[in-house]
């Protein structure tokens, strides 16, 4: 279980995130949504231990500040919005780098690491790409390779920053379905999402941030109302609910 208690992130005085309190149950998928600059990525980066924060983050009753970098990396796997994918590395080599928190600082991979990387490749159906270079992959394949690297980390919590921005609709659904299926293996997911419809369909819970503060939280139907989206995104939308799914449709003004 992840607990954030009044977490704030500042960038040189200006607060990017203010007093975020949040509980994420094991196996849940929580999506942070909100307009540009709302603090979604800052919240995710605070969880990943990449920015200093005020307040407390507690994972399974352990304060993350008490954990070293490696311990943190065994707890959280982080996929940034634009991952760095050196084009000459093979998919297998790239996924093996995900084993870093389990490998001694100046050591090399052992059998257990190669097996873990092979499992991650199989889980994301990338086995036949193992010896291909990253530069030769399509956008969707590349995103799967990045997920495989995160999976090889064998961390119980997966942090995804805008996992679908570079993908077309079909590839986006494919990736989100994959992430959803990983939850079956016990993975907890915290993501940021731009696409509200997709966010609502895949996450159990949405947290809407605006100017660094939480303005709404709950199930998709609770958070995604015409009035809320209009107020915080400055967008004109129609929200359609059908069979329990929520669709946020832009309407030309």
């Amino acid at each position: 279980m992840i607990e954030l208690r009044r977490v704030s992130v500042r960038f040189g005085g200006a607060p990017a995130l203010r007093d975020l309190s949040l509980v994420v149950e094991p196996g849940a998928w929580v999506s942070l949504i909100g307009p540009n600059g709302a603090g979604k990525t800052s919240a995710l980066r605070a969880l990943a231990g990449l920015v200093p924060f005020e307040g407390e983050i507690v994972v399974d009753r352990r304060d993350v500040r008490a954990l070293g970098r490696r311990e943190l990396a065994r707890l959280f796997a982080f996929v940034p919005q634009k991952p760095e994918t050196p084009p000459e590395l093979t998919v297998a080599e790239y996924v093996l780098l995900g084993r870093t928190p389990h490998i001694p600082y100046l050591g090399g991979e052992r059998r257990a690491d190669r097996l873990a990387a092979a499992r991650a490749l199989r889980r994301l159906d990338l086995e036949r790409f193992a010896e291909r270079s990253l530069g030769s992959l399509s956008g969707g394949e590349l995103q799967r390779a990045v997920l495989a690297r995160a999976l090889a980390q064998e961390a119980p919590i997966l942090l995804l920053d805008e996992p679908t921005t570079a993908l077309d609709l079909g590839r986006a659904q494919l990736v989100l379905d994959l992430v959803d299926s990983l939850r079956g293996d016990g993975l907890t997911v915290v993501s940021t999402m731009h696409d509200l419809t997709l966010a609502g369909q895949y996450a159990d819970r949405l947290v809407l941030l605006d100017r660094g503060a939480v303005v709404a939280a709950g199930g998709p139907a609770e958070v995604l109302s015409t009035a809320t989206v209009a107020a915080h995104y400055g967008a004109s939308v129609r929200v359609v609910e059908e069979d329990g799914a929520v669709f946020v449709l832009p309407v030309r003004r």
């Binding site: 980066r45 990943a48 231990g49 990449l50 970098r69 490696r70 311990e71 943190l72 990396a73 065994r74 959280f76 796997a77 982080f78 940034p80 991952p83 760095e84 050196p86 084009p87 000459e88 590395l89 093979t90 297998a92 080599e93 996924v95 093996l96 780098l97 995900g98 870093t100 928190p101 490998i103 600082y105 100046l106 050591g107 090399g108 991979e109 190669r114 097996l115 990387a117 092979a118 499992r119 490749l121 199989r122 086995e127 036949r128 193992a130 010896e131 530069g135 980390q153």
Partner: protein, 356 residues
Amino acid sequence: MAVDSVRERAAPRVEARGVRPAWGLAAAGFLVGALVVGLAVGPVGIGAGAIVESALAHVPLLHVRSPLDGVQEAVLWQLRAPRVVLAALVGGMLAVAGSAYQGVFRNPLADPYLLGVAAGAGLGATLAIVYAAAGAGTEALVPLAAFVGAIASVVVTYALGRTAGAARATGALVLAGVTVATFMTAAQTFVQQQHAEVLQNVYAWLLGGFATSSWGDVAVAAPYVAVSSVVLVLHRRVLDVLSLGDDEAASLGIDVARTRLVIVVVATLGTAAAVAVSGLIAFVGIIVPHTIRLLVSTSYRAVVPLSLVAGAGFLVLADVLARTALSPAELPIGVVTAFFGAPFFAVVLRTSRTMR
């Protein structure tokens, strides 16, 4: 369970390529060949077989008799051998430090002189040449002053770069390096201008070379080169992790700032020691790692160790050219590395299929 383990064995090969044996052997062969050529070539011709026999004669209990006469023995072991060994140490050091700098700054044009090592060493050496009382002491003083100047320059660069904050760490560090190097070069030029009578000595040092190399120089440089290159080679996998960028390396459990500091400090110490005994030799730190990248692999697991070995061989051969091309006069070795290195690199660049 049994089914699972069978399936795991049937899985595709999941491993890092690292250094394939064929490339390791090729690099080692290149270095050994370069060393033999370096020992054999010169005004006094000595055959490769004679070199091997003479070397064995120095091993106790073997009872091999050296086929060489006293003069040949002295030429081989007191003049050529220290020169060849020193060139190998310096070449390996510059190449391995260059590969590490390129990894740590994620900049293909980074060379071991990036943070001001060269300019600092130049200033240190110039001050020693100008102000040290002419006499026996100067020879020992110049490398020491160069070493101190190089280290001081990188310390100032690092302190300056840090003030920009962690977010822009690498860019700020590179800019700080340019700033410090420019300042040091200006100071060096000024001192040199004020003392035109030592211009020749200063230039001879700046251009670098192994004309006066002795076993003493080898003893000075070897410990630094050994420690530095071992530590850098041990970091080869970490350098691959750093190639994912600061954020991702950090989220994989690497303390990026500390790792960068360790690599920069170690590479700088080795480079400063190399520069102190050889002067400034351009291009080795860039050309050797990039040749490995183009021919073998861009993974630092291959680039770092192979740069060390190939860099050593490359500079030994460059030194052979420097002392034989216009014999009995010597070319500055920096001229040789650039004159033959640049066209060679151009050919590699054009013919390589791996470069996009």
